[in-house]
């Protein structure tokens, strides 16, 4: 079993849960060996979603959103709420039979406390040795790559741990000089500075330029970037964050992000905030690049307006009742006047912080002060479809990857301090 603090256990369980998107959770290995981790991971996803909402009037609607956006199976929903109820994260749960109708939200304000209590719940679930080892390895690799043979896993569990870890994308493998190296996409996500430092040490100009380009334009849509293929490969390799959104034509657009400038807590224990911020960033970039003839000129201006108390932005005439990604993520709500509708921020602290972080990311590479046309972004924000977190972007990116192994190897070697440059 790993010697992890409870908050780290729940954080990694949440990571693994997100990584299992598009993976058959009923496969024998995952279903039997990952039950506690999946349950706590789902509880973490739901807790982060409901945090700050106070009252969930329609739990059945949340169940639909949880299935669509949080990968919480509809059959697991009641069990997840039951676990949250045991931990006092929800109260006054009203049920009709087994069906949950409504409840009060009482998730701790502090993410450390939230994940800490969920970590204790993980222990209470009687986790298997494999999932204990898996969480330990994922956490260890989030601090830096390691030779596969050096990972502290009991021999009997090694094969299963690595299989589940790679299946969930939480463990990436690379062969360097005949040695298998394991690394975690969360390393680059949680330690962007280390990647930057490593890039400075290796002789792969195009990688360095690609990273620099993303810093100049956070949320670069891969399909329109001249470095799109390379960025796709970096996302696939798990060394760059690539949240994604479904486009109106049903294809998936990945947005490259290098989340520099945030404190270590935002990159780890407060990651739900960053994930909300990346969702906002992806949405405005979608509006900026795929808004048609009325594309958004200034995402920053729109988001600044959204932060003003009670301000309604992104008016649109034809999508009054259409539910969009940010609404499903609990970030905005709809407002209507006549035939037009717009969005308002659901104004609690986490949402305000997330929009502020999105603005910080946008501002990192841009100086934007003009008032933009909101129609394009409105379409993007209101577009139906699914948002996917950065770890969930790895699998689709892998399907298109062309990156030469030696370039990636150089990067990993530099990170590990084995570089030859």
């Amino acid at each position: 079993m790993p010697v992890l603090v409870p908050s780290a256990i729940a954080l990694r369980a949440h990571d693994i849960h997100q990584g299992l998107h598009e993976v058959d959770r009923n496969s024998p290995l995952i279903a039997t060996e990952l039950e506690a981790t999946q349950l706590v991971g789902m509880a973490g996803a739901v807790a982060a979603w409901i945090k700050g909402h106070d009252v969930i009037h329609d739990a059945q609607a949340l169940k639909v959103v949880a299935a669509a956006q949080l990968d919480v199976d509809a059959f697991a929903f009641e069990r997840v709420i039951g676990l949250l109820e045991e931990r006092d994260f929800v109260g006054n749960v009203r049920r009709t039979g087994h069906r949950i109708d409504s409840f009060y939200e009482t998730v701790p304000e502090d993410f450390e406390s939230m994940y800490g209590q969920l970590g204790a719940a993980w222990h209470d679930q009687g986790p298997t040795e494999i999932e204990g080892a898996l969480l330990g390895v994922v956490d260890r690799l989030s601090h830096g790559p390691q030779r596969l043979e050096d990972l502290d896993i009991a021999p009997a569990a090694r094969q299963d741990v690595v299989a589940i870890g790679t299946e969930s994308q939480a463990i990436q493998l690379l062969t360097i000089r005949n040695s298998q190296i394991a690394y975690s996409p969360f390393f680059s996500y949680e330690n962007p500075k280390s990647i930057e430092t490593a890039l400075a040490q290796i002789d792969v100009d195009r990688l360095a330029k690609a990273f620099s380009g993303v810093r100049q334009f956070q949320g670069t849509p891969l399909s329109v970037s001249p470095d799109g293929q390379l960025l796709n490969d970096l996302v696939a390799a798990g060394v760059m964050a690539g949240p994604s959104l479904q486009r109106p034509d049903q294809s998936r657009e990945l947005f490259a992000v290098a989340p520099y400038g945030f404190g270590p807590d935002v990159l780890t224990i407060k990651r739900p905030l960053l994930e909300k911020a990346l969702a906002v960033l992806a949405a405005v970039r979608m509006g900026q690049h795929f808004g048609g003839i009325t594309s958004l000129n200034s995402p920053v201006a729109l988001l600044n307006a959204l932060l003003q108390p009670g301000r309604t932005v992104a008016w649109h005439s034809s999508t009054k009742r259409q539910y969009g990604v940010l609404q499903q993520l609990g970030i905005v709500r709809f407002v209507s006047a006549g035939s037009r509708s717009g969005i308002q921020l659901v104004d609690f602290d986490d949402n305000k912080l997330a929009v502020g972080m999105a603005i910080d990311l946008l501002n990192e590479g841009e100086v934007t002060s003009t008032k933009g046309n909101s129609t394009g972004v409105e379409r993007a924000l209101l577009a139906p479809g699914h948002y996917r977190t950065q770890i969930q972007g790895i699998r689709p990116a892998k399907q298109r990857t062309l990156i030469p192994v030696d370039e990636l190897s150089s990067l990993v070697e530099a990170v590990m301090g084995w570089g030859t440059a």
């Binding site: 009252v55 669509a68 006054n92 701790p108 304000e109 502090d110 009742r321 499903q328 509708s341």
Partner: protein, 401 residues
């Protein structure tokens, strides 16, 4: 006190309720005195017949007081007295309430001192203007219901006398910020005697929650003055004090820790900190309240109704119809305060369920059942008759019915 005095107090309570405030009857003011053998350690200055409280973020805590008497004598003295009580408590308005027509000179004096003088005719006009036929007022803030509440709370075992002394006098004697920690301490000390199966248990706990929420809204005022942008810093100063006080307490805590270490080892050495062990929960509660502080008065009014409702075994009705969803958040905030007290003082958790059952109708969305079968957040258009409760107009539509 005569029954007619009580009728006046209840009339003023209803008037204050209808004006949007929350009220408490018979509040004792006084101070602690040096403890001597066989003598009480506190003395009363006076008592207030009716204290009304309102809170709004723009104006902070507003207090109003009413003096209700049926006697015809000493009107001028009572007006001077009322002015003094207003100054002492920081009340913004004072009401002198009498049954008989007030002399013109008394009205002049009241006007000069900023006191509102109400004889029977004025009072009836006030209540008429405020629509005293409000169902909440008729159903719960009436004489029999309030008497039943009073009888229940006075029927508690003698072991709870100390807690009652805190409720009725100690709370009002303490510097206001001290009640954030004094109330949990008083309840925890009485925990073993708080038998949740007794009919007085829930009314008592809800009444304590009302007192705690009142202490919290006063803290909100202070927090806003100390550090508007970071309520956690404000709360820390409210609970611990300024930097000088914190350093003093840190030094005392360090000395205590040294003392404990020097003592022979025991099984349990108490943790020594400048904040109480439930501070994280308190911080959570304050942040929630701060975020929704415009609804704090709704929460206070919910608790006021709930304690009477619990004593009379009836549900709390909804009392706001303009924005139902917002109001339900106020009911939920009241539940948060009850939950905090139950968790912090480790009371029987069934009390929480009973409180939530009691206030369920007050906080329930009446359209839940109509939309539950077919409402989903992913459907692109609402079905006929379905209300989009995630949109502002949906909320208004629901609240307006």
């Amino acid at each position: 006190m005569t029954q007619r005095d009580m009728d006046q107090k209840l009339q003023m309570r209803r008037a204050f309720w209808l004006m949007g405030a929350s009220t408490r009857l018979e509040v004792k003011l006084g101070s602690l005195i040096p403890r001597e053998d066989r003598r009480a350690d506190r003395q009363e200055w006076t008592d207030l017949d009716v204290l009304a409280i309102h809170y709004a973020p723009v104006s902070g805590v507003t207090q109003l007081v009413a003096d209700c008497k049926t006697s015809r004598t000493r009107v001028a003295e009572r007006i001077f007295w009322l002015r003094g009580v207003m100054d002492l408590t920081g009340a913004r308005q004072g009401f002198l309430v009498r049954d008989f027509p007030l002399p013109a000179a008394a009205r002049q004096l009241a006007f000069r001192l900023g006191v509102s003088a109400l004889d029977r005719e004025d009072r009836e006009a006030l209540l008429r203007d405020l629509r005293e036929d409000d169902p909440v007022v008729l159903g719960l803030l009436n004489g029999p219901a309030v008497s039943r509440w009073g009888s229940l709370l006075s029927a508690t075992p003698a072991e709870l006398d100390r807690l009652h002394r805190y409720r009725t006098t100690g709370y009002w004697l303490a510097p206001r910020h001290r009640n954030l920690t004094a109330l949990p301490a008083a309840v925890t000390a009485a925990r073993d005697m708080l038998d949740s199966s007794q009919p007085w248990s829930l009314p008592l706990v809800v009444d304590l929650a009302w007192l705690y929420l009142f202490a919290l809204v006063i803290a909100l005022d202070d927090i806003g003055r100390i550090r508007l942008a970071d309520p956690r810093i404000g709360l820390s100063q409210v609970v611990v004090g300024d930097e000088r006080e914190r350093r003093e307490k840190d030094a005392i805590a360090a000395q205590l820790r040294s003392l404990f270490e020097a003592m022979p080892k025991r099984q349990q050495v108490p943790a020594v900190d400048v904040v109480p062990p439930y501070y994280e929960d308190l911080s959570d509660l304050v942040i929630r309240l701060w975020r929704r502080r415009s609804l704090a008065i709704d929460a206070l009014r919910t608790l006021e109704l709930a304690t009477v409702a619990a004593a009379n075994s009836v549900a709390v009705p909804s009392f706001v119809v303009t924005d139902f969803v917002e109001h339900s958040l106020g009911v939920k905030l009241a539940s948060d305060v009850v939950r905090f007290i139950i968790r912090t003082c480790r009371l029987d958790r069934s009390l929480q369920g009973r409180f939530d059952d009691l206030t369920f109708e007050a906080g329930r969305n009446p359209f839940d059942s109509a939309t539950a079968d077919d409402s989903t957040m992913t459907s692109s258009e609402p079905k006929q008759g379905q209300i989009d409760l995630f949109s502002v107009e949906g909320r208004q539509e629901a609240g307006g019915r």
